[in-house]
């Protein structure tokens, strides 16, 4: 299992670097082993450097930068094997409009092979979805599904669920 961990770690690192650069339009990131001499127990650390910035500990990243770095890692792990589905609950909340668009482009690409279930309040993310599922509480305290159409009708259907 030592060899297997090492192989997976290396593949994850390669993919993580690639997806980080895709989301940040530059910069660099990598996964590091805390104890490379002991593959059976070593921990894993993330090093991330947005474009033009100095390498720092992850704590220095902004809220949006952390979310994008996390998404790059999740999607990298995703690509290593066929994962049945991915469930994301408002991961786009800290992102500005430009980063929501980049995130959505990546989602679009990866959702060709994997099913995504994503909870969001961002209009742009709703627009890139293949299907929208509205949840409402017509009776206070009781949830029920309501159909939501994409496009112009969405405004009115969403208003109905607001």
């Amino acid at each position: 299992t030592r060899a297997r961990f090492k192989e997976t770690f290396e593949k994850a690192d390669v993919k993580f670097r690639e997806l980080f650069v895709e989301l940040f339009h530059g910069g660099r990131a990598t996964l590091k082993l805390t104890n490379p001499n002991n593959l059976l127990e070593s921990g894993v650390e993330i090093e991330a450097q947005p474009p033009g910035k100095r390498v720092g500990s992850l704590g220095v990243l902004s809220g949006g930068e952390r979310a994008l770095t996390a998404v790059s890692l999740i999607m990298a792990l995703f690509s290593l094997r066929t994962t049945p589905f991915c469930l994301l609950d408002e991961v786009d909340a800290p992102l500005d409009d430009a980063n929501v668009a980049r995130f959505n482009a990546m989602l679009r690409r990866i959702s060709e092979r994997t099913q995504f279930i994503i909870i969001t309040h961002k209009q742009r993310t709703m627009e890139t979805a293949d299907a929208l599922y509205g949840v409402t509480m017509a009776e206070a305290g009781v949830s029920q599904m309501v159909s939501v159409r994409i496009g112009g009708a969405r405004e009115e259907a969403l208003a109905a669920t607001a």
Binding site: I74, C86, I117, Y133
Partner: protein, 178 residues
Amino acid sequence: MRIRQIELVGFKSFREPTKVTLLPGLNAIVGPNGCGKSNIADAIRWVLGEQSVKHLRAKEMEDVIFGGNETSAALGMAEVTLSFEQADEASLGVEGPEDGLAAQIARLSEFTVTRRIYRSGESQYLINQSPARLRDITDLFLGSGVGPKAYAMIEQGRVSQIVQAKPEELRLFIEEAA
């Protein structure tokens, strides 16, 4: 493999039996604050074996049963069923013995996983409507990224904390993907 349908009966704010049929690709769940979106996410994690009440925003496991509102009483049971569809190329690479339950299921083109809980605290798991153990469910999804602790299900508000997980926790993510 993908989720074809989620069915909630008496789970959290879903008092009435509710079916959500999902598509492959990108499914977005939308609606105002407090309407029940994250409850659907909790339902998915719960049926796949989530044992931590904290991660279900509950104090005891029975809190996932519809607790009533101003006009209706609390229910006595909650049940969630996930129906999975497997296309040939993407079936689960199941760990465990060839003739085990998990391996048999993995070869089917469709299967369902169900979890049920009663006010008494008694809890049941079912695979294809026949009784199973929690262990059978976790075996089924082991290493696929969708077990309760896995990287493929991100709870609300936790995305920015992933990058600050401890090195041992990040290692678990990598092992899960191995």
